[in-house]
Symmetry: C2
DNA sequence: CGGTATCCTGTCGGATACTG
DNA sequence: CAGTATCCGACAGGATACCG
């Protein structure tokens, strides 16, 4: 790959440019990898079209407020499709869009990486932490 | 590491973790995809072993404090190797570890996804926003 | 050079309560 | 049911200054 120049195209000006310049992945990160978007996307992908409450039940610790916020953002970004059925009681269904679904292989890779390497990270942490203790014991 | 509270995974209280249950990807997200870890990892991967100041120059908008913080976390997680040369003036070099390098294919996929789909996201946003304007104009 | 030490704020997310 | 309305705390991250 090109070194300095080729990557992200310096199209934008402003604060965010540099991290984008340094890393074409950053924009995707902002869109897809926040605390809750990942679980939501995953759940939607796993269990298919779901109502608001179903999502809430499948992602137990999420609050309705946050669920709404993330869902709105993802809808705005075109990752999720919201369907409102004007009935009584109201019914709203969320499903993953095609764009959202195009992330599936990446998620799969991530899950795979996790299965293979999460342990290593944990071990590295332990080593680092105990080494740290020893270091501060020397003082 | 995690932002608020316990991140996409480890609320250690109850034992079972809901978002983890819902999404095996969350732990990886916490480790790899924060605002700065991605650019740092990318830069390290692209330009190889670098000194602190070089990293600072390559990722222009990052402040030394944050760079240190992220670097420490990544070192602790075993993604980055820090080498201290006790010279005058001091010299410290950072390089990506093997574990860190194992993320490269994922980053490549992400960059690819970005190149193909970022536009779509932007278009979706515009549509959503203008539709929103129209909707609120009706009220 | 390679960081620390402070101070400060923006934003995410949690808790709780309340509607159409 | 599907949210909205508030209040609030926590922390990543920015700005600035200083040190071995």
């Amino acid at each position: 790959m090109g070194s300095t120049g080729a990557m992200g195209s310096a199209t934008k000006q402003g604060g965010k440019v540099d991290s984008e310049l340094a890393c074409p992945v950053s924009p995707v990160v902002d869109i897809v990898f926040s605390r809750w978007t990942t679980p939501i996307l995953w759940t939607l992908h796993e269990f298919g079209r779901q109502r608001f409450v179903e999502l809430q039940r499948n992602i137990r610790t999420i609050t309705p407020k946050v669920l709404t916020q993330r869902l709105r953002q993802m809808e705005r970004d075109g990752l999720v499709v919201r369907t409102y059925h004007p009935e009584v009681p109201p019914r709203v269904e969320y499903e993953i869009s095609e764009l959202g679904r195009s992330l599936a292989p990446i998620f799969a890779h991530l899950a795979e990486w996790s299965a293979e390497n999460l342990r290593k990270v944990e071990r590295a942490r332990q080593e680092f932490d105990t080494a740290d203790e020893q270091a501060s014991a020397l003082r």
